[in-house]
Structure formats: C-alpha cells, structure tokens
Amino acid sequence: MKTITIEHLTKRYGEQSAVADLSLEIDEGSVCGLLGPNGSGKTTTFKCLLGLARPTSGTLAVHGAPVTPHTFETLAYVPERNTLYEWMMVFELFNLYKRTYKKYDAARAAELAALFKLDSRKRIERLSKGQQTAVALTLAFATRPDVLVLDEPASGLDPIFQRVVLDLIIDAAAGGATVLFSSHQIGQVERAADRVAIMKDGRLVLDGNVDTLKGEEKIVEAVFDGDAFAPNGLATDPRVRRIERNGRILRAYVRNDSADVVRRLEALGPKAISVYDLSLEDIFLGAVSDTAARNGEGI
C-alpha cells in the first residue's frame, strides 16, 4: 500500500522552477532517502507534500488523501532549520506536544530526552544546534507517528547521535511507520533507507530500491598500455551511464548488463579489466553529474 504519493509535482517561484514534474510513491513501512545537491528541490518537495507551499501543478497525497490538519495527528515533520520557539524551555515544548497530540507518549519523550542528554529546564536558545535538532526529533518520535518526514534529521549532531537517529528511523520503520528523509550524508541513507530517490535541478533523476540499484550498477574498469585508445562508441551505449577517462584508465558506469560492456572493452585489448559493485555514493555522483560527463562526450 502506498503511504506517500506524489504525481507530476511542479513548483515554480516566478520564472524559477524549484521542482519539475516529480513523481514518487513510497510504500507503507518503507524508509526512503531523498538525496540531491543543494537547491535540487528536496525541501520544496517536502513543503508541497505537507501543505506548507502550494504546488504549481500536480497532486500529493498521504494515505491516499491530500494533507489536512487532521493528517498531522499521525504525521511528524522535522524541518531542516530549527523552528522551535527559542524562548521556550524544553519541558514547555513537551507540554505543548502533550496538549496538541492525542498519541503523544510522555514516557517515550522522557526516554528520548535521556538518550539525547537533554536538560528539560533549559531554554531552546541556550541549546547547541545539535541539541535543538535532538529536541525536534524527540518531539517528532514521541508522537508515535505513522509517517515521518525528516529534512536532514541528523544535521548538526555528532556521529554518536547521528547513529542514534538512524536507529530511531530504522526502529520506526520496523514498527510500520513510513519515513521520508533527506540527507547530504550518503552513508546515512545507505544505512537506513531501503529506497533512494535522487533529485537534481528539481527533477527526479534516479529512484529505486537501494540494493537493486547497487546490484544493477557496476563499474567496469579497463587499464590500457597507452592513452591513445578509442572507446569504440561506448559513450553512446544506453547502458553506460557515465564514462571517466584518466590517462591509461577508463571507467564505465554500467547499468544492467555489464557483461556485454566487458566484452566490448576486451575487444580493445586492455592490459587488465575489472568489474566492481557501485556504492550508493558512486550511484549518487553518477546520477547528479552533468550530462556531458554522464554521456562521456569528448571521449
């Protein structure tokens, strides 16, 4: 069952297009990592999904219906920038959530506050950026949401607490929650997400199951005696997403059938040829690198 459905979302600010024809579906209980360079449209997508910005066109739904105030009983959102009331004390925010959410779990909040070592008598403005993020996450998880939308949730946290956040995300998904989160830390996405969507310039350039993508994508690396070899039309092969050439070494990023690409490179008489699995970082860089590099123009 689809928990989040985004169909042909376009959001323009004047002449500038922040999101262009984005379609994305996220299954119930799935963790989807949204990746993309700065300004690629991740936060705008979140805002449109949550009704904080009006889409220029397209439809968005959570549990099959547009977001209404009632949706937020079971949907928690942690924005990228701290938006907590800086003049409030931590315990006052906890009280606010207790009054606001029917499903608020005070015991869970206390447990998470202890985990993040939060002092509930401190004002938000006196907390570090990381601690403010921890407060926002504590509040979000204490509402026991069915859907979590987290915009760079581990931003500002130290590596120990980053790991805690990833564990919380994984635990929530294991409990049936659907999580959509963005991050610039590809390692975090690789660890927590079972699904990845990559955006660039407002468009979705790659989307799929993390393991499948990693399985589909291979690097075929060939080492030649000299650098005067011809890539034999490899750049125009639709399976080859990108070609890198560095002196005597040629790297082809191949999707699906790497065996045929290997055979074509072997025909060029290389000194050695190897096939590697791609990391998510390789997939990401391959997806967001510019068109010229991806198509190997000039090679």
Partner: protein, 285 residues
Amino acid sequence: MSLVEFLRARRSFYIFGSILTAIVLSISISLGAAMRQHAQDTAGPAHVTITISGAPGSSHSTPAHHHWHPESFRDLNFKIPLGLLFGIAAYATIILATILGTSLNSENGRGGFAFTKPISRERLALTYFAVDAAAGVAIFALALILCAVALAAFGVLDRVFLDSGAIAVAAAGTGAALMWYGLLQALTSWNRLKGGLITGITWATFLIVLPLYEVTQLGPIFHTMLAGINYLNPLAYYTACSLDGQTVAVLSQLGFGTGQVIAFTWTLGIAGLAIATYGWKQVEV
C-alpha cells in the same frame, strides 16, 4: 498550540504590567511627596494650600483656598466617575494590544512549526486572538486595580462612582485596542515583515504624523491623503475622555460620538482580524 500564545502573552503581560505598576507607584509616591513638601513650604509642616476649581454653586467656590493636611485629602468634596478609570485602563489595553498585535506574523518565519500541527490555521488564529483578548482583559483589570490602589493610598477610593457613561467608555477604549490589534494583524499576518517594526511605524504614524496634518500646511493632496489614513487611526476615534457633568464621554478627533466610536472601532477591528486570518491561511512557508 494555545500554550504558545499563552506563554508569549503572559511574558508581555508581565513585562508591561511591571512597567505600568512602576509608573503608577512612581507617580503616586512623587505626588504624595510633592504634596507634603508643598504643605511644609507654604503652611507649616502639616498644611498645604490648594486651589480648587469647583462647579458653580458648589461648596468650593472658584477659586477657593483651603488649608489641609495631606491626610485630610479625603475631606474634599469631589467624586471620581468610574468611566474616567475605564478610560485610563483602556490606554493600557491599547498599548498591550499593539505589543501582541503581530502574533500571527511571528509564526511565519518558523518553517511551518505551527502549520504542521493537527489544528487548522483558522482555528489556530482564533485561539491566538482569544488568548490575546484574555491578556487585554487582564491588563485592563490590572490598570483598574493600580488606579484603585493609588486612590486608596490617598484615601479617596470611596469617591469612585459608576457613572452612566462608564460602560460606553470601556467599550470605546477596548474597541480602539481591538481596532489597532486587528490592523496590525491584517498588516503582518500574510508576510515576513518584522512585526515589531510595523508596530513601531503605526505608533509613529498614529501618534505623531497624523495628528500633525491638521495643524501643518502640506498641500491639499497630502492633507486629503492623511485625512483618509486617519480613519484607520484608533487614536483618532478614541482621542481622549472628557468629564461631562457627572459622567465621562469619549472625545473623537474625527468628531464621532461615543456610540459611533464603539460601532466603528469594533467593526474595523473584527474586519482586520478577518483579513488577517484569510491572509495567514494563504501564507507559504
């Protein structure tokens, strides 16, 4: 979410209430000290001479000189209409209303913290208005209490009487507060302008610029323009209170009677809140 506005309004109430208390206490203490000093300077250590302009035919003919002990202030024959105290308390309410008047605007820069809660923006806005209104009532009551304490200190609290215009003055004064509050909400709810800046600009405009247009030569275009803007000035409706015989009436720069002031200020205030709520609903974060 009412807790947010409650805490915000409570903080403003504490700060402004403290300032108000300090002002009233200072005035009372200074007045008491001045009277004692004057008594010592003019009539010996225990007496003071004052001049009272009394109503014709009253026991205090005009002008009349009396020697009195400060403690015997209560022996003078005068009464204090409650409407006068309501009129003073209304000014305190107006000031607090302008402090709280940008409460919707203060949510706009928060990345939608308030807008991602299980409560509609309309209901949230009404909640904020209700909390702010409660704070307004509280500061009105505090101002009345402070007046009562000051009068009690001079032993004349029992001279206060309920005059026939008191309720109307209270309605007009709180109407002016509502009007200014509604205007600020309407000006700021839909944008990310600095709320405090807009509040300051309205104070400067209503208190300084607009009152000047009647006494300065600005040319017919400016004069007409400022005269038009003046219809949005709560202080042009609720300009002052005057003692009219045994009761208090509202003086309006625009020439309206108390009833008209009540009708216009409440209508414009509520209209401002309706515009503000509509504008807030359209805000994109």
